[in-house]
């Protein structure tokens, strides 16, 4: 085995342990978390031994628990952990989307512990949305999608399409599937239109948190849009400290990071609104 693959796998296994520790700590605090990607996709889609490296722990929590979840992660010193309260590309109000996804949770065994993860149908939606969000130039999400298309039976994809519709994620779901030839054929068999636009509209913005504003036009309803704006312009403190290392040094540095983030977001906002109107 190549040393690089060995090191990447060892790193991934260490992250799996971190994921299990974080999930246990969140559970002790009364917070449900769903493990996304990482070990779940590695086992589901890469059982043939093809390496799928990853470099953080991705967890989905209920929107009302996001701040508390970050505090738990900081308390136990787990790093790097990426907490989110919505899937990119899902336009439904995040609390409603969480309930839909939580209903589909299954128990998977990660690093000696039972953890909650999306069931294969919801995973398929997530994989398609992830591919769409990153677009045709990102090989890893595309390979995830290719493998998911080969693994999940058509009935599963049919159910995934219904779930995507309920999540108000049809644009990203169809756009993701359209990135793969087998996905385009599937869309036709499912009677869904093959979209012309095959990726999220990117923002020319270096800050990944601010790039997320591109989702604004996909969010369905005022509450869902306000939720996104709040997440992007004024994230919870734990998220700031997770994504801006300087913000960990003290209150003044945290305040400076907020000023930077909010400033970038507000500067990007008019362009996003104009694009939303243009594409409406």
């Amino acid at each position: 085995m190549a040393d690089r693959a060995l090191v990447a796998t060892a790193h991934a296994l260490a992250l799996d342990r971190t994921a299990a520790q974080v999930v246990a700590a969140l559970r002790a605090a009364g917070i449900d978390a769903l493990v996304l990607k990482g070990p779940i996709l590695a086992r589901w889609l890469y059982a043939d031994g093809t390496p799928r490296p990853y470099d953080d722990v991705d967890l989905l929590v209920a929107p009302r628990h996001l701040g508390a979840a970050y505090r738990v992660v900081e308390r136990i010193g787990a790093d790097p952990v990426d907490l989110d309260d919505a899937l990119n590309g899902a336009g439904l109000e995040p609390a409603c989307a969480w309930r839909l996804l939580r209903e589909r949770a299954v128990v998977e065994h990660v690093a000696g512990q039972g953890v909650l993860a999306l069931d294969p149908v919801a995973r398929a939606v997530h994989v398609a949305l992830h591919a769409w969000w990153h677009g045709p130039a990102a090989p890893k999400p595309l390979e995830d999608l290719r493998r998911a298309l080969g693994l999940l039976p058509e009935d599963g994809w049919r159910e995934a399409a219904l779930l995507a519709d309920r999540l108000r994620a049809a644009t990203g779901f169809d756009g993701g599937l359209a990135l793969d030839p087998a996905g385009r054929e599937l869309l036709e068999r499912l009677g869904r239109p093959v979209p012309r636009e095959r990726r999220a509209t990117p923002l020319a913005e270096a800050d990944p948190g601010v790039r997320r504003l591109a989702e604004l036009r996909l969010r369905h309803g005022v509450r869902a849009r306000l939720h996104l704006l709040r997440r992007v312009i004024v994230p919870v403190p734990g998220e700031m400290r997770a994504h801006y290392p300087g913000a960990r040094r003290g209150r003044a540095q945290l305040a400076a990071a907020y000023a930077l983030r909010s400033g970038r977001a507000l500067a990007a906002l008019p362009g996003v609104v104009l694009r939303s109107r243009g594409s409406a």
Binding site: M1, A2, A5, L6, T9, A10, A12, L13, A14, D16, R17, P39, A42, A47, D48, G49, P51, H109, V110, A111, G112, Q113
Partner: protein, 92 residues
């Protein structure tokens, strides 16, 4: 004796033709070579020594006695390292 992987204490991943194992108690990593990597997923699925012997004999065109000896040595080494635990064979 039948063995099972200590699921609560190890995390593993198949990678290329091999298996990488993390012992969560000691934080030590192990790699299982390609021969062992054919057996590990079967072990994870609950296969007993007879089933592992069948697999090894078939995969490498080995005499069954030789294969059984290799499987025994493999399981013994895993057990020594605390990666598997002996369990009573299922009844029936």
């Amino acid at each position: 004796v039948q063995y099972r992987i200590r699921d609560d204490d190890v995390e593993w991943r198949r990678i290329g033709g091999e298996v990488v194992i993390l012992d969560l108690r000691s934080s030590r990593y192990f790699t299982v070579n390609e021969t062992g990597a054919r057996l590990w997923p079967l072990l994870a699925a609950g296969a007993d020594a007879d089933r592992l012997t069948d697999e090894l004999a078939a995969a490498f065109a080995l005499d069954r006695t030789v294969a059984a000896r290799d499987v025994e040595a493999f399981l013994g080494e895993l057990s020594e390292r605390g990666l598997v635990a002996a369990v009573a064979p299922a009844d029936g």
